[in-house]
Symmetry: C2
Subunit: 366 residues, 2 copies
């Protein structure tokens, strides 16, 4: 793949790969979270995320923030990323500490570049269009203290996402219109989500952000000064080689999201409309929707024998025969030590299984 | 368990354990057929069959006819049966050759005893009542050239069984009434089965038979003379130590059932009404019906975590967690290399899976 570098912008990619999603149990585990799984296609979502960036960014300009304990698995999946570009959290503290650390790291080592903050566990159908919009967002972020977010036009009244109201158009850059953000709404109820969809001006918050390192650090200084101070103490400790002290400082940070802690309270937030087939792959149902299906509507990773079975998603080891007889609309996931069989429209309830394993079974199979 | 030997009768038990039932796939395999599985309780159906006899018969008077290839597994399950009491078929040839061989064997080694022919893969709830009726059947068989069968009062219009019409009562023995059999009907259609049930005089053919060795040999000589001649040649060869020649003779026998080949054409057939909670355990649905269930109607061998799941049968290794979410009325069988998920009311279609494995997949997982 030839690298068509983003011209005129000093851009870095910051991939957030510390999540521990529980909705893909039993395929996902604490030590093998969603972003490391090949649940769509033959590569992991993290690998897909990196490969989307490589045509535009050299590997040296990609940071990955992830958990210390899963670092070996992460390294194995993205071997081209230099080791010093992996920021290893001793524990997850949500997105604000993660992004703040990456920004401090960039200020120290790379001047004041633009940083594109990217979840590692989303699916994007059209990477070329994604690159085009990322380029525009970076150019806009470069021009001022702009916080830029990528907003997705909703296709149905999802209640699990945050929404952004698009305001007036502030202009165009590289032929891409830039909007002021008029407000944020966390997960709405069903009626509100319906009205958002009808209004046409409400978009999904994709969790993809673009800004200069100094811009987000200034915003953190205003909104979350204690968190920023903690991060600075951590950085100072790490620089002196005091890794335990650094880890202690990080563990003391309040776990808070960048949306709630900073973006929703900031003044100059801009949005670009991202139309590149975005999906946050939030459940087995989403995987089913995104996957190619056979004539009976079954999709299978593994060896399936279906007798009057339809609408099923099967994920099993390649050497295991899965026979379905007379069933429909099921999720079947065989992970060796654990087997899930779930109605396709109930895959959100997989979380309940994980909760019960924590609560009643001392963390069995987590 | 104290042996309360059947008095006054020279009785032998002949257990037919050569079947290769396919309806319990993937738990059952060609080399691990249904009778060797612990699908009900903690012992195999074969083991249950032997233990039902042991209070009445010493192990030396129990013969087991089974396949040569599964002989080690059979021996391991019934170690008290003397090795010379295992008759090993080189290939399955249905019940007439199996029973004929056992009868010739008994004539040669035990005079002319009464033999109770018993399938090895049925469930019987009340072994004491079973023993009482077996004793009566044996006494009646001892008194003459009587072919005696145990008939089961039908509880629903099953189309998969053979039916017997009960005729006049020929008398009582040990307080048990003995009926003449008025006719046989192979698997009826649904309307016929309904009318059989309403009539009240039609009973299920359990496949349990009692007769003297000489009685069945005489019947074979009349109805299947070629088969009997083949068996005699096999026996002569085996006696001379010509095991290959003996096997060749057995393989040349026509595969035919004792019902179709002999009983249905015989004159003096008698029946005893068996009311001892009989079930032929013909499918996973039957196992579900016979098994104790929890408050949600689930029955599990293994480690089940159910979230709003009901009416399911789960059979999985003890170290595998099976999580069911939002599903109902499913059969879930994890056999390591193969997994079956089947609607509870479709478990007869498991045969189709086996057929397709034979036809399209070169016998994979059979």
């Amino acid at each position: 793949m030839e690298s068509k570098r983003l011209e005129g912008t000093n851009l870095y990619g910051v991939i957030m790969a510390g999540g521990r999603g529980t909705r893909f149990w039993p395929a996902s585990r604490h030590s093998r979270p969603k972003q490391l799984l090949s649940i769509l296609g033959d590569r992991s979502l993290l690998r897909h995320t990196v490969e989307r960036l490589l045509p535009f960014l050299p590997a040296e300009r990609i940071l990955v923030v992830t958990g210390e304990d899963i670092a070996p698995a992460v390294r194995a999946q993205v071997p081209e990323i230099p080791p010093e570009n992996l920021l290893l959290e001793p524990e997850g503290r949500n997105t604000a500490p993660c992004i703040g650390w990456a920004a401090l790291h960039l200020r120290q080592h790379a001047g004041d570049p633009v940083m594109a903050v990217l979840p590692s566990d989303h699916f994007i159908q059209d990477p070329l269009e994604f690159g085009r919009l990322l380029e525009a967002a970076a150019a806009w972020a470069q021009q001022g203290n702009h916080l830029v977010t990528i907003a997705i036009r909703p296709t149905y009244p999802e209640t699990g996402y945050g929404y952004i109201r698009m305001g007036t158009c502030s202009g165009r850059i590289r032929d891409v219109p830039i909007y002021r953000v008029d407000g944020f709404w966390e997960k709405p109820d069903s009626a509100t989500a319906e009205s958002f969809l009808r209004a046409g001006t409400f978009f999904w918050n994709s969790g993809i952000f673009v800004w200069k390192a100094s811009t987000i650090l200034n915003a953190l200084a205003r909104q979350l000064p204690e968190l920023l101070e903690g991060l600075r103490r951590m950085q100072a400790a790490l620089q002196k080689g005091e890794t335990q002290e650094g880890a202690r400082e990080f563990r003391n940070l309040a776990p808070i999201s960048i949306d709630y802690g900073v973006i929703e309270k900031a003044e100059a937030v801009y949005a670009i409309q991202g139309e590149f087939g975005w999906n946050d792959v939030g459940s087995w149902t989403a995987v089913y929707t995104q996957s190619p299906k056979d004539a009976s509507g079954n999709t299978c990773r593994g060896d399936l024998l279906a007798v009057e079975a339809s609408g099923c998603l099967v994920d099993a080891p390649p050497d295991k025969l899965v026979a379905l007889v007379g069933v429909k609309d099921l999720v079947v996931v065989d992970a060796g030590d654990a087997l899930l069989i779930c109605r396709l429209d109930r895959s959100q309830q997989v979380r309940e299984v994980v909760e019960r394993l924590k609560k009643d079974r001392d963390g069995q199979c987590l």
